[in-house]
Symmetry: C2
Subunit: 343 residues, 2 copies
Amino acid sequence: MSIPTLEVVARAAGVSRATVSRVVNGSPTVRIESRQSVEKAIAQLGYVPNRAARTLVTRRNDSIGVVIAEPTGRLFGDPYFAEVLRGIGAGLAAREVSLVLVLSQSPDEERRAARYLTGGHVDGVILFSLHGNDPLPEHLQSRGIPVVVGGQPPHGARVSYVDNDNHGGAIAAVNHLIEQGRTRIATITGPLDMPAAVTRRLGFLEAIRAAGRTPDANLEECGGFTREGGQRAMEVLLQRCPDIDAVFAASDLMAAGALSALHAAGRRVPEDVAVVGFDDSIIALSTQPALSSVHQSMEVTGRELANVLLQTIDARDQVVRHVVLETELIVRQSSGGPPTGKN
Amino acid sequence: MSIPTLEVVARAAGVSRATVSRVVNGSPTVRIESRQSVEKAIAQLGYVPNRAARTLVTRRNDSIGVVIAEPTGRLFGDPYFAEVLRGIGAGLAAREVSLVLVLSQSPDEERRAARYLTGGHVDGVILFSLHGNDPLPEHLQSRGIPVVVGGQPPHGARVSYVDNDNHGGAIAAVNHLIEQGRTRIATITGPLDMPAAVTRRLGFLEAIRAAGRTPDANLEECGGFTREGGQRAMEVLLQRCPDIDAVFAASDLMAAGALSALHAAGRRVPEDVAVVGFDDSIIALSTQPALSSVHQSMEVTGRELANVLLQTIDARDQVVRHVVLETELIVRQSSGGPPTGKN
DNA sequence: CTGAAAGCGCTTACAG
DNA sequence: CTGAAAGCGCTTACAG
């Protein structure tokens, strides 16, 4: 009743274990009749290869781990992550490799995740949404496990990564607001223990300075990359600087929150306050008015992460690879784009 | 440089492989000196047990799979799932068992998930958010893999499950609206290929009938368990029946969407239209006004799922277990509760 | 308390 | 094209 072994299948098919193994693994050097009798036996007996035994000899797991290091539960609030995962899945599609999501939302889960990943369950790891100086990428790498990081890796870590041009995107967004004649431009930042948040903030400051203006610390507030955080940040900013006429939010979700706050405060968008987000996720099209946003394709990012990881696994080398993907400003109604624009 | 084997550790420590194994597995019958010399060798050599070899002999993986069968990407839009996962994690906390999330969002990923789960990677599986007549639970079970389903399992499937009292919760919600004097009560349903959605709808109809009224098909619209769906459904309902004075939405997310639609249509909540949701998730407290909702603890549900699964794994039996958790109506402002109520 | 030995279920040169 | 045999790295009675 339980799953039979190769041995049993071999006996039923009247061949050796080696031949059954060859059939299971698609070896071309098997006589057609042998193959058929093996296939029949496999079907009859409901044979499924034992992964542990196979892994023990091949040293392959045919699965990769993905950890999204979000301690906050933000993981399930932002469509961003779903897109990345979809992209990773697409990048893996051509190969018989499973994607395993390892949760890491609490210190306890974090330990468990590290144990799982170093425990030889996976052939490689994609790490995402890293905070602060997370030692995990280097820890895994030192154990010989191929690793790729989504976004900028922790400072000083020699790890492969796939990133988006956060700096250029932020500058484009702010330049656009400046060109629209906005003079009091605020920014809602992500958590500043995350490289993407830091880089977008630096782009903001750089663009302000490049326009000959002096950055004003009052025009900056952290929104933690959440909708609620964005709303709260916008409320704070409005209270501190009622004359704000533009906001660059470092994510669409925060921009959506900011729109709620502006609406509640009776400010018209874009007439009184122009708003630009970052991500250009589906959120950007569902806000009222439609949100201008810096486009980055998380699906492509995910696919590249998968590609780079598979490359590293196949090559069995220690080469550090990186890919930086372009970003592009998409102007919609929230910063003065055409009201009916489908874009 | 690569990870050493038991053999190497044994030689370094001057003992046999068996003794090293005993130390690694915490056997009490090891002389203190042997233990120490083994521990020293392990530390020096950076030994980590090979999982595949261990699994091959013990037949344990020390990890369980969780699949959330959401084809839509809804997975990352609803805090509901994060709560369940947190609960499962809590239920596993006492044991050295890893939680592995297996994605199943496209037909391709579904196949891959099934292959992974039947491939002997996990000791048991928790299945969640099943649609229609998904054969996966029975498929896994027939392969001898312990399975627990979150929610009502597919019709006719003899599988363990943990569910919430959807029927009672829906009735309580509708009775409350009736007691508030509402006469035109609509419902926004979830996708009717999901048992939870069906059961909440039936509870709604039953309560309407029990009040001596005749259900009106015009007062029912599907919102697909998403925010956008809830909003759209509310728009449709308002257009069809402008005299609606109450809505029972089968999830908080849909209720939040309905609130947006009501707001946009200029209806006051609760004065013109009373709204009750389902889940009592964090969303219920962040809407304006605060949302009355049927409370169910997804964290507890998750914990119970883990408990039942661990029981089944430990017992190695074929017993079908079920747990049904109570639900409770929480009245807040959206259906006439006190405006400042913290509850 | 400890070691020698068998065995878990596969894959893979090797020889034919 | 195929089989006998070695071996992957562990655990676990068994005997001492």
